[in-house]
Amino acid sequence: MVSENGRDRFKDAIGILADEKGRIKERLLVAYASQLSRINPVEDLPDDLASDFAEIRFGISDAEVPYGYGEHASEKIEGMTEEEATAHAKKIYTMFLKIFALAPLHTN
């Protein structure tokens, strides 16, 4: 079961992706740093969502990943293309839907 912190962090991350000013890379940084960085997968997420979250987390910030590039979100996002950042935002959205058991909308 997803903890209250896990639900709140994803809800707020989606809100930031939607209403934060700036391009997708800037919005992704604010959403990740202010919200998703504060999720503890062991405490906040069930096992079946932990791997999804690991993919999101280590795609955006791999400083603490063994054999990663050692980059935190600011550096990693700066090196992304807009398309890559958009793809990460979509993963966050997809996980948000799973957490809140919502049916996905048809998106391109």
């Binding site: 604010v30 990740y32 202010s34």
Partner: protein, 170 residues
């Protein structure tokens, strides 16, 4: 419980402003966040004759990025923003008093004297500092958040007792 602090060092003012904005979006209390930077800033409006702590600065302070809002004013030597209060210092000769006051606060939040000197040097070199103070639980969050924001240095300072040395984790 004594307040402790996290000090984040940035190469540019812009990065530090973004970090403060991110703390704000994380709902970290803006009254517990300070930004310290030095240098020449550009702003079309120049308000002459401002004194330290001038209340008119609060209404004049427009700008993006900080929870309390701040203005970048041309020709100012140091910019110090603490929570909702804004100090704009004109002559560089007067800057020392204001930065000294903030750095005095850092001392109360567990920063040892040798580290204060280091931070003063960084500011003189043109770096920007973001300081978040609070209880240990708040600081765990602040450290985690700020680590993602492009810091060049990140330090946690804690005081465990009157005579205990600072605990510094970098």
């Amino acid at each position: 419980m004594e307040d402790e602090c996290v000090v984040a060092v940035y190469e540019t003012l812009d990065k530090s402003r973004k970090a403060v904005h991110i703390l704000d979006r994380a709902e970290f209390p803006s009254s517990q966040v300070s930004l310290l930077a030095a240098g020449q800033f550009e702003q079309p409006e120049m308000t002459p004759g401002l004194d330290i702590g001038d209340d008119s600065l609060h209404t004049a302070a427009v700008g993006a990025g900080l929870g309390g809002g701040f203005a970048l004013v041309a020709g100012i030597g140091y910019l110090v923003v603490t929570g909702a209060e804004i100090f704009l210092v004109g002559p560089l000769t007067a800057a020392g008093a204001v930065t000294g006051a903030l750095l005095g606060s850092l001392s109360g939040w567990g920063v040892h004297e040798e580290h204060l000197g280091h931070y003063q040097q960084l500011v003189k070199q043109g770096k920007a500092l973001v300081v978040a103070h609070g209880n240990p639980l708040q600081l765990i969050q602040a450290e985690r958040i700020l680590a993602e924001t492009g810091v060049s240095e990140l330090h946690v300072h804690a005081t465990t007792g009157d005579d205990a040395p600072d605990i510094v984790r970098s």
